[in-house]
Amino acid sequence: MVRARGLVVLTVAIMVAVACGNTGGGGGGGSKGTIKIGSDFPVCTTGGQSTSNGVKFAVDQKNAAGGVEGFNIAYQSFDDCRQGSYNADAGVANVRQMLDDSAFMGMIGPYNSAVAKAEIPIAAPKNFVMISPANTNPCLTKDIASCSTAYHPQDLRAGNPNNYWRVVTTDDYQGPAMADYMYKQANIKTVAILDDSTVFGVGISGAFEDEFKKLGGTVVKHQEYKKDQQGTQFQSLLQSMHTASALYVGGTDDQNICIPRAQMKQIGWTAPFGGGDGIETTDCIDQASGNETGILATSAGADATQVPGAKDTIAKFRQAFTGANDFGGYTMQAYDAANILMTAIGNAIKANGGSMPTRKQVRDAMAKITTFQGVIGNYGFDQNGDTTLKIVSIYEVKTGLSDTDVKASTGVCGKKLANACFVWKTQFDFAKSS
């Protein structure tokens, strides 16, 4: 009996191992061996899955072109979802799994700032390179004033050399971009703010509030809620804010931040509704059911669809990934991040005389990358790991789009309402203005 059970365990273990092996990057590539890169996203959400697609696409392309310096790249996508939304503990468990396998030379991710905050402290001592395509909390890299109430970047690294880079800019630009847009371009002078009490939501709504007040605007009310206590009943919260001429939300769709948009209509409040990149998602459009039109969202990066050089890559991506929700707001950012990591790995291999590099060599090579030609622009990184690209894009939901318009949009459309999509509206370049 004991023996039989041992056999079952062994069989299962082999099956799992085989199954995991198959999830790696496509075949082909080099012959010198296999280098693994991982990613850590909440792939249970459309946002996380479409971002993971970008990494997979980059790795597949690289392997088809012969791999990196003779090495084949195997990609494994880790999921940090627990019960339907991102979870920092799950992210930490994923990173530990990568750290335990010496073939992993770096990772793309995470998607959520709160997860990065938990992961950097365990990855930094091991010189494990992390490149996030989506983290926007400034305190992960920069010790700005508001970090004193959250956390400091140097504490996350605990004296180790920096192991964390990101290809998007930060909330201290994202929040102000929407404030600038609302106050200057949309001529809105009073706003109300609602945040979901998460690290991200509080941070971005605070940055928005500071900038909006600095411009001379009035914040009528700043309300907070918690998903597990609020349910989906927002009318009374909205009622206390409805004298404002716009609503800014700091939060993410998995915290139900777009349900208030649907309920604004139920309480007869017609006003612009804007938020950060946490609402530039399919789930947000679905939550806003009946009141989708005109949702405004920022994204802390240049829009790949607006960069002439990216057209070709996006077209090729769409041939490889044909699902309606396969392409998202961070797919091309993830594509770039993966290519940057593979460039660093390539440089490290060269520096190591063509053989398998160490993680420290990859980290050092990564720190030396000062310019990179990506699909979202040409950029480099400062010593904190932040991109020199300080572009924030603004998107708006348009409904009733034709099929060609849907294809020309960001591709972030409703599941129920497939012709309601986020469309690029404008962008702010803070590198130029400052």
Partner: protein, 346 residues
């Protein structure tokens, strides 16, 4: 423990001019709340009336769920933790059934009306069946076990139902078709629509039907008898198992209707919704006096109004604190709830 209990009893039994000290405390608490609300009503009447509308619609839904908790507790003294998830599951089943019709969202068509007429009885009956099955599988075998055992299976059932919904439709929010007439109006600055009226009236009709059923029918009488003294009821020839199953069935009918109403009104549900909504509805049941049917309905309304006023006047992050603060206050001064407990006699 003993001395604490007797101190509390002593405190409650101190009489002053015909009323106990605890009663004074309770009335002072109520009066303070009323005065504060009246001040707001005078300060900004429109805002007050508008919040009142939201509170009533919220409260009507809480009341429907609270009835299920209170009926079950009244008859077998079980806190049926799975009840909130039965409520959510009915919204999930409702949206699936509506998916079979080609309903028009955002406007009202004849087909919408047909779908509306069909969906209520169908979902309610399905949920009734599911809840009877839950009772049969998870609670009945443990009826003579220590009280903690069925409480744990109830929690287990709750997670089980959440798991089923998670696996069925995934973790993201689930859309519920918006098929009610979109008509809205403004009366004296207060904005409301047919949706609000629909929720309140449907809930009122269901509560009235329940009251009629409990007070005027044979089965209702059997339920009251079982709730009062199970052994005596059994000696009188009442089939206890059947009566308890009927209680679960009716509780689920109301939760089923509540789930569909919730979906039709808010148009978005998610698999964990039942946890929070159920907890608040249970609070409403305790608030009104556990086991007391009119108490649960009134408790639901009061909790709904409290949540709305707190969201609007105090701030969303304080709402849970306010609701449970009031609950603690009420229970300290009046442990049997607003209208008194009705639980089996020992």
């Amino acid at each position: 423990m003993r001395s604490g209990a007797s101190a509390l009893t002593r405190f409650r039994s101190i009489a002053l001019g015909g009323m106990s000290l605890a009663d004074y405390g309770f009335y002072i608490l109520c009066a303070t709340a009323v005065v504060l609300l009246l001040a707001e009503a005078v300060r900004d009447t429109t805002n007050f009336a508008q919040t009142l509308v939201f509170g009533l619609t919220q409260g009507a839904i809480f009341a429907l769920i609270a009835l299920g908790y209170t009926m079950v507790y009244g008859i077998i003294e079980l806190i049926n933790f799975a009840h909130g998830d039965v409520f959510t599951l009915s919204a999930y089943i409702g949206t699936t059934i509506l998916g079979l019709f080609t309903v028009t969202e955002g406007s009202f068509t004849a087909l919408n009306l047909v779908a509306l007429v069909i969906i209520f009885p169908v979902v309610m009956l399905i949920m009734g069946g599911i809840n009877v099955a839950i009772e049969r599988i998870a609670y009945r075998p443990l009826r003579s076990a220590p009280r903690l055992a069925p409480l744990i299976t109830a929690i287990g059932m709750s997670f089980f139902l959440e798991g089923v919904m998670f696996l069925w439709k995934g973790p993201a929010t689930v859309h519920f078709p918006n098929i009610l007439p979109q008509w809205t109006t403004t009366v004296g600055g207060v904005f409301f629509g047919l949706k609000d009226i629909f929720v309140i009236i449907t809930a009122a009709i269901l509560v009235a039907l329940l009251a009629f059923f409990i007070n005027r029918t044979r089965l209702g009488k059997a339920m009251r008898a079982t709730a009062q003294d199970r052994d005596a009821a059994q000696l009188m020839g009442i089939d206890i198992n059947r009566t308890i199953a009927a209680t679960f069935f009716i509780g689920a009918l109301l939760a089923g209707a509540g789930g569909v109403i919730y979906g039709l009104y808010y148009n978005t549900v998610y698999y964990q919704l039942g946890f929070r909504t159920g907890l608040i509805a249970f609070t409403a049941a305790v608030f009104g006096g556990i086991g007391n049917i009119p108490g649960a309905a009134i408790g639901g309304l009061i909790i709904g109004l409290t949540a709305a006023f707190s969201d609007s006047y105090i701030g969303g992050k304080w709402t849970t604190v306010v609701i449970f603060g009031i609950l603690i206050g009420v229970l300290v001064f009046r442990p049997t709830g607003l209208l008194g407990m009705r639980v089996p006699e020992k």
